[in-house]
Symmetry: C2
């Protein structure tokens, strides 16, 4: 049974080996932002004979052909997610480690304008927000209120990890 990502790999003309199929499977199933060790761990559940080196190599390969995207969340290691049509950023809950995805057209527009005004064309950018839940033991008042009306994107709800 070919996974979503395996199909993508075939389209890109990649040679499909057993380990690549397993990794593609793992990444297709994932809805979080696993690092290489985590991918390896999950892959090992399906097929024990996959080395971490191969996972590293495959992640790089998949990144190169833009099947997955590298995410830098500030902890030491590289994390990955399926390359998706909808660009987004991450808010990291520093208390729980939970990761919430968001998108903001306004923010992107401003960013674009800033670069342009400085005489630059954007070739990439990175934005992460680190925060703590408002309703927790927050020093600053304000009650909790669900995701609001602003451009906060496709998934105002959040994935974890």
């Amino acid at each position: 049974m070919t996974s979503r990502l395996e199909a993508l790999c075939l389209e890109k003309g990649l040679k499909m080996t057993g380990q690549r199929r397993v990794i593609a499977q793992v990444l297709s199933d994932a809805d979080d932002h696993p690092d290489v060790e985590e991918v390896h761990r999950r892959a090992a559940l399906i097929d024990t004979r996959i080395s971490i080196a191969t996972v590293y190599r495959t992640m790089r390969l998949l990144e190169d052909v833009e099947v997955i995207e590298r995410v830098d969340l500030g902890d030491g290691r590289a994390r990955y997610e399926e390359a998706s049509a909808d660009h987004h950023h991450h808010l990291i809950d520093t208390r729980s480690g939970r990761i919430i995805e968001f998108a903001s057209p306004e923010l992107e527009a401003i960013k674009e304008r800033i670069a342009h005004d400085l005489g630059y064309k954007i070739v990439g950018h990175r934005l992460e927000i680190y925060g703590v839940p408002l309703d927790d033991a927050g020093a600053d008042g304000q009650g909790a209120n669900g995701a609001g009306p602003n451009g906060a994107g496709p998934n105002s709800a959040g994935k974890e990890q």
Copy 2:
């Protein structure tokens, strides 16, 4: 002669050693974003007897007491700059490596609103833009035009590195 940062360190109650004084000097003089090796290199010009380990330890210390700030510009190593009152971000010229600082109140406001709407209080954030000069061999048209009227901050001109 006590440097600006040395004075700050004294205020914070840090024990001032010879090597710390030299490092404080180097950082006071710097107007770019040196990594640890670069700080060590510059420090060695003033006093040859400073080990890289001490520089690492001192940078961490100064970061902890908020005399300097760590900057992550995407290359492997940590870079640093003097902690300043005016918050800003960086646009990295991927062709030249030049680093341009900018600030944008609108951008900060939107970021604030996004987090709030998601139910979070911001404790930190990170934003970098990678770009290439518009007037270079840009594929996408538009002539060059200097820094514009938008909130692009305190130093629309740029520092290098």
